[in-house]
Symmetry: C2
Subunit: 375 residues, 2 copies
């Protein structure tokens, strides 16, 4: 897949899914302009779901833009963080929807990062068996990945994103200005998902990221605009071919099998999702090397880029007594697993990814190599 | 709609929904025959979800039939009754699925009545964003209504079936022999949903029920077989035209707007769903009369049939101080409501139903007339 394969209007990327198709609008200054929301279905009420961190920054501005379209706009502010992505928090959305007498036409707006988007999407999928919703992602990670493609979910104590739905938004609004207020650690976490698109789909883009990673971390507007746009294009193409992850879509999970084990093993919220994915990609690249898909130079190149993005490249010890066993047991509950056999996304060759299982001994070697601070 | 409109293989009714199409198999002695489950996708494991009442009667027989297809078959037994149709009980299914390492191919089997079917269906829709499931309804109500058509849900303290999904099963297996062990009160509750299909779609069928209601209550096998088959045919035709209740499908909710208010107002589980629907249909018929769709003779005819089926025809007092107000406020959270305006399914003329709103004064008159023991 090269940049030429996908033609999109600048500032807009379309996801083609038949009657569930929609546009991702990308640009500065979008959030508080009523025109951004033109064409959305009419309804008596709308509900903005956000969190305690984002609400003071952007909620009033979004409410102002929506006031023209909806007679009543309610707000639900959730506690911030992956640790709260559970049923209890989700139920606060349902409580508000029912207390405010929201009906089947009520439109939900997810204003925040991936956690807000995942929970609002699942609430929209489930409330009265489905109401419309719009994603307004305010983190780089949500703009390039989690807000696009219709994966919604909450966590279960025994596994991340285990309870959810495939449910597409009506529209995704990526206001690049919101990235200005993003903490540096979260910006880096988002760059992890940008990097991901290189090895799995487009090595030209990978080379571009290598040249511009410092600009991205410094929040250069043009660099961020290109990164978000190209990431969404690649994701749109993959999701358009495999909405419900029957096959191809799984390649978007490059680095996520190891990454999910790190997140769950450390306790949700200790490592940011993007940090775990950054380190997980380096681990998955090592596994790809062991399976013959890439050479050592590629692993070093990826590891160096992840490091320059401000992300961890050394895997944490999850269990001092049986670290490999702990990693393996956490990875066996991954959604890609089948009959207890763990499935990994591996690169073969660079720019192309496949889903494979691997012998436990090989995976153990990768885990051991990745937890060594001094290679 | 007449009986001639739908051609179906005897013992099987098909629901046509494109790649989500499936068959309802109807007959005696189906549950414990391995052939009943032929053609289902292969998987390492299956999970039978049932309840404390049904498990001792049928779980072992179903497990025996499934043992040939699945290497591991787990069982989850839930507490019985509408009062338990909530998140806490649903989560017991997720706990088992994760504890047993169930993957995306695991097949769930709902063995029980409407509550088990609704919860198993929603668990299947949500676990890992969707795993396959099969309905094995053991109550008349579930066989003729709730197991067919893909509506799944749990209740919220502020409203019935408010959280759920449209999610179709792979197959519905109606073993008529299971109706032999059904308590009389539950059998009558099922007859309520059978009666429903007459006024909304087929007055010939209504006349047949009038001639055979005593046979149904006495569990005559041939009468039950015809009632289940014809009910499923009508439901299949409606659902095939409007899977996600964009319009037509709402007619299947005849009697349910008043009925849901009774269920919620009395406390879930006090009145069985079918009992509330029976009484709710008489109320909805009175409203249809007030709106000019039917005459008094039709109301009396329906009321008499509901009564002969062993169902209540006098509406309960939900609030001694403001009964009408209580009914109205409960009905305003109905899923069909829009912008606070309650929508009712009314008959106009007999054999045909439409969705309409009605002035509060008219609805109040119907509630008052329906709560009088001596008309």
């Amino acid at each position: 897949m090269t940049s030429e394969n996908i033609a999109s209007h600048p500032g807009e990327v379309r996801i083609d899914l038949g009657d569930r198709s929609y546009a991702i609008t990308i640009g500065p200054g979008l959030l508080d302009v009523p025109a951004t929301y033109e064409g959305l279905p009419s309804a008596t009420s709308a509900v903005v779901v956000t969190n305690a961190t984002v609400a003071p920054l952007y909620a009033q501005r979004l409410l102002g833009a929506l006031a023209a379209r909806y007679a009543k706009v309610h707000t639900v502010s959730l506690p911030d963080g992956e640790a709260h992505k559970n049923w209890e928090t989700l139920n606060r959305i349902f409580d508000t929807l029912l207390e405010q007498g929201c009906d089947r036409k009520t439109v939900l707006f997810a204003l925040g990062g991936g956690v807000v988007g995942d929970m609002t999407g699942f609430a929209a999928a489930s409330y009265m068996r489905g109401v419309p919703f719009v994603q307004v992602p305010t983190t780089l990670l949500a703009q390039v990945d989690s807000s696009v493609g219709g994966k919604t979910a909450i966590n279960h104590p025994l596994g991340k994103n285990m309870i959810g739905a495939f449910y597409q938004p009506l529209r995704v609004v990526c206001d690049l200005d919101t990235l200005k207020t993003l903490p540096a650690r979260e910006l880096s976490a988002g760059v992890a998902e940008v990097i991901k698109y290189g090895p799995i789909a487009d090595m030209d883009f990978f080379a571009w990221i290598e040249s511009h990673v410092d600009d991205l971390v410094a929040r250069d507007p043009q660099a961020l605009a290109h990164a978000v746009h190209r990431s969404c294009e690649i994701k749109a193409k993959v999701v358009g071919q495999d909405e419900r992850e029957g096959g191809l879509r799984a390649i978007l999970n490059f680095g996520h099998t190891f990454g999910h084990a790190i997140e769950a093993g450390m306790g949700y919220g200790q490592w940011l999702h993007g940090e775990a994915v950054g380190c997980g990609m380096v681990m998955a690249a090592r596994l790809s090397e062991a399976l013959g898909g890439v050479d050592k130079a590629f692993v070093d190149r990826l590891s160096s880029l992840v490091h320059r993005a401000g992300l961890p490249v050394v895997a944490p010890i999850l269990d001092a007594r049986d670290n490999v066993g702990r990693y393996l047991s956490l990875m066996r509950v991954d959604k890609k697993a089948e009959a207890g056999s763990i499935k990994f996304v591996v690169i073969d060759p660079p720019g192309h990814a496949v889903v494979r299982s691997a012998p436990d001994e090989l995976v153990a070697r990768v885990i051991k190599a990745s937890t060594q601070t001094f290679p």
